[in-house]
């Protein structure tokens, strides 16, 4: 057996690609839940963003306009969630479920109506996709032993959104723990009454949290349809929003932990694509179906609380009502 083969560079490379949408969605959920708004609508927002980014990119030929459209679609759903759960103090879970249903149905319906391709968008070509970018010196360094291939294959050669997502990790950490906005955001998720009596708007902070969540979900969805793949297909998020939520719990609502958690999920998805490597490493054949199911099994295990106690933000899920 050769366990090192399990960490083949090509597998690690796709790990990064597959982890990116999870990471963005996970950070989106992190902002929202740190602000006290539970959001199980990550899935729906990503799906809507995936469709609209692909559709607009296909129509205009510009992936950047597509990205904006995706973010816009996701933000619209965020606004619905915000109005329902912050302004009208509705149930956050129900609002999230509604958003997931809405996105699942509407994307296919509109896709069929616009493109008549069975609920897909046309395949994206040229400027309609985010192309891999080669980092400086990638070719020159590729001959350097070990580090060379690591740099040129694993680190270089991703689309811009991958780097954006990775930069979001320290960015999120910095915002949360080093800025006034972060302090207030964390406080509003723990004890909104403290924020309120300190003279800061609870509603404003929570809408900001939900808004950031919308932008990040929008990028995640756009990456799925215009970076990872070339176009939108029905239900292409395939539960990634829920996996991101599981990763968020696994990460205990911390940005760096979120990176490691989503990389783990990304790795499970990546390795499932290469049963040959697993067979080579373990010496026996593992059912493809089992491999495909692994990320979901891990999700269930995490959500069932097998990874130790994870304490969510204390005011999470509860609408804030000013005390008499």
């Amino acid at each position: 057996m050769n366990f090192l083969a399990l960490f083949d560079l090509s597998v690690l490379d796709s790990t990064v690609r597959l982890a990116v949408p999870l990471l963005l969605a996970c950070l989106a959920g992190l902002f929202s839940e740190r602000g006290g708004i539970f959001d199980i609508g990550l899935e729906g927002k990503m799906l809507a963003a995936a469709f609209f980014s692909a559709a607009i990119a296909a129509t205009t030929g510009s992936v950047w306009i597509g990205l904006l459209a995706g973010i816009g679609a996701s933000l619209t759903l965020s606004a619905i969630h915000g109005v329902a759960s912050i302004t009208f103090r509705g149930n956050q879970l129900i609002s999230g479920v509604a958003i997931n249903f809405l996105a699942a149905g509407l994307t296919v319906l509109i896709a069929q109506s616009w493109f008549q391709q069975g609920g897909r968008t046309p395949s994206l070509i040229g400027g309609g996709r985010f192309e891999p970018i080669t980092l400086p010196f990638a070719d020159a360094l590729s001959t350097v032993p070990f580090l060379g291939p690591l740099y040129s294959e694993l680190i270089s050669g991703h689309s811009i959104l991958v780097y954006v997502a990775l930069l979001c990790v320290p960015g999120t950490w910095y915002i949360l723990f080093r800025t006034r906005f972060g302090l207030r955001l964390r406080a509003v998720g723990e004890n909104p009454a403290a924020v309120d009596t300190a003279g800061v708007s609870v509603v404003g902070l929570r809408f900001a949290a939900v808004g950031i969540c919308g932008v990040l979900c929008g990028i995640a969805g756009a990456y799925l349809a215009t970076g990872l793949q070339a176009g939108f297909v029905k239900d292409m998020t395939a539960g990634r929003g829920f996996i991101a939520l599981a990763a968020l719990i696994f990460a205990k609502w911390r940005p760096w932990h979120a990176l490691w958690a989503t990389l783990l999920f990304g790795y499970l998805q990546a390795i499932a694509l290469r049963p040959d490597i697993i067979e080579g490493a373990l010496g026996f054949k593992v059912q493809v179906q089992l491999l495909d199911a692994m990320p979901y099994i891990l999700t269930v295990v995490i959500l069932a609380g097998f990874v130790g106690k994870a304490i969510p933000p204390r005011a999470g899920g509860e609408p804030y009502v000013k005390e008499r």
Binding site: R178, L183, A187, R314
Partner: protein
């Protein structure tokens, strides 16, 4: 300091919630550098008035003047800007933040935390020196005691340069020693020229600490007097609107045989923390045993295990018969069958179902009683008749058995629970915080009922965080600290000072 203008003046403040007039034409003047008490029963409108001052509510009519300037207070931001600081009864702190983070929250300087934290740390040192308010700036709120947490609230207000400090029922969660310390701090703040408004229902605090006092009753300000020119009796009368007996009127106890015998009782909670660490207690027929202690030292767990909704180990006998502490026969129903009645500490969560009508609440726990059933069905007519009679005997107001429990005042809710439990003629009555959130008039009545039950030869276990209540109602006092009994005293042989030390875990 020449006090030309009052630090704070309210003129004709009125506020209604629907048909309820919470504040009616209230006017007060508080001079700078004084401590002004506001006393009144629950629901008298004290909190509404303070919420208006802090920008939580908008008054329907009336004006607020701060240092002679007419001031609009549409939100908390405006209140802070006007120099008003508020220490709420339930602290508004973020539990997993540090002291420093809580202090700067909402009063940060600029978008980045580092300079704000540094500035706050420096000014915390100065404030600590000026007002003797020492706290560890890096401690997390969840790791420090309530007394410290309250200091953080005061520091929060001072950090925002508050000149007027409003404290709402500040001693509710404190030990007597901590309360004394708080009042020393308040005295110090007064010396430095701060104006303090102290809201409380405790007459003694008003008498000991304030310069002037205003009394509120049913939304109106009934009087404002100099504290030195009034007496507790007069204040109580002003609060209730009639003469009130402040002391419990009872004859010496005539204890009979042991009813409840507890040996080495232990309870471990969900977090595997031992909450009761070997309790030995006896309660005799015809006596009231009071359990004193700061909230959270195991009193709740004691009531829960005796009431049948927590598991424990050890030996507990009732009239010589052992009762189960785990398993099928350790539930509330078995306890009632054993002859234990329970008036729980949290009447709104454990004693009543708030959305259900008074008559339904009267049957809970006893709904299997043959008198309340006919075959498989419940005999609602019988329950209602019984409820009406109970409501009359216990003077529940309004005597409307269809009214949902949540629509009764705290005192009347407690009377409903008490009527249900006492009238079952139990051998042992467990009572937790019988008068928490209950107004003075109702307190008197509830105390009389408990004493009457004792005089019928029943055993009563009373848990209360109000030391005054324990001392006046109980015949014998046991003090709990950290899951243990620190000592037992006859109530006529002890005083608040001695019990206070025991409550703090000192001596035995």
């Amino acid at each position: 300091m020449t006090a030309t203008h009052p630090a704070i003046e309210l003129k004709g403040i009125s506020k209604a919630f629907g048909p309820v007039q919470a504040n009616k034409d209230i006017s007060i003047r508080v001079m700078p550098g004084t401590i002004h008490g506001i006393i009144g029963e629950n629901g008298a409108g004290k909190s509404t008035l303070m919420s208006i001052l802090y920008g939580f509510y908008k008054a329907d009519a009336g004006e607020v003047f701060i240092s002679g300037q007419k001031t609009e207070i549409p939100d908390s931001q405006a209140a802070i800007a006007a120099g008003i600081g508020m220490v709420f009864q339930h602290f508004k702190l973020v539990e997993n933040f540090t002291v420093l983070e809580n202090i700067i929250l909402g009063a940060e300087d600029g978008g980045f935390l580092k300079p704000s934290l540094a500035k706050a740390r420096k000014s915390l040192v100065e404030l600590a020196a000026e007002y003797e308010l020492n706290v560890d700036p890096d401690a997390r709120i969840e790791e420090i005691g309530v007394g410290m947490q309250q200091r953080v609230e005061i520091l929060k207000a001072l950090y925002r340069q508050a000149d007027i400090l409003i404290l709402d029922e500040p001693t509710g969660v404190l030990t007597p020693a901590e309360a004394d310390q708080l009042f020393r701090i308040l005295g110090r703040l007064r010396e430095e020229g701060k104006t303090i408004i102290l809201i409380t229902h405790k007459l003694r605090e008003i008498m000991d600490t304030t310069d002037t006092v205003s009394v509120m009753r049913r939304g109106e300000m009934t009087a404002t007097v100099k504290t030195s020119e009034t007496s507790p009796e007069q204040l109580a009368e002003l609060m209730v609107g009639r003469k009130v007996l402040l002391r419990v009127d009872k004859t010496p106890a005539a204890p009979g045989p042991v009813v409840l015998d507890i040996q080495n009782l232990r309870v471990v909670d969900d977090q595997k923390v031992e909450r009761l660490r070997g309790i030995d207690l006896q309660v005799r027929a015809g006596e009231i045993l009071g359990i004193a202690g700061v909230a959270g030292n195991g009193q709740s767990e004691l009531l829960e295990v005796l009431g049948g909704y927590a598991d424990g180990t050890g030996t507990v006998t009732l009239n010589g018969q052992p009762i189960d502490l785990t398993g099928k026969y350790s539930d509330g129903r078995s306890r009632r069958d054993n002859g234990i009645a329970h008036v729980p500490e949290d009447r709104q969560r454990e004693g009543l179902i708030m959305d259900f009508a008074a008559w339904e609440n009267t049957a809970f726990g006893y709904h299997r009683d043959p008198a309340y059933t006919s075959g498989m069905l419940s005999n609602n007519a019988a329950i209602k008749t019984e409820t009406q009679a109970k409501m009359d005997r216990f003077d529940v107001r309004p005597p409307n058995l269809q009214l949902a429990a949540k629509n009764f005042s705290g005192g009347n809710q407690q009377k409903i629970v008490l009527a249900r439990e006492i009238e079952r003629n139990p051998d042992l009555l467990l009572v937790g915080q019988p008068t928490r959130g209950v107004d003075i008039g109702a307190i008197e009545f509830i105390h009389q009922q408990i004493v009457a039950l004792r005089d019928q030869g029943k055993a009563i276990l009373l848990v209360s965080v109000e030391l005054e209540e324990i001392l006046s109602l109980a015949d014998r006092v046991a003090v709990m600290f950290d899951g243990r009994i620190m000592g037992e005293r006859l109530s006529q042989d002890t005083d608040e000072k001695e019990l206070g030390l025991l409550m703090a875990g000192v001596g035995a």
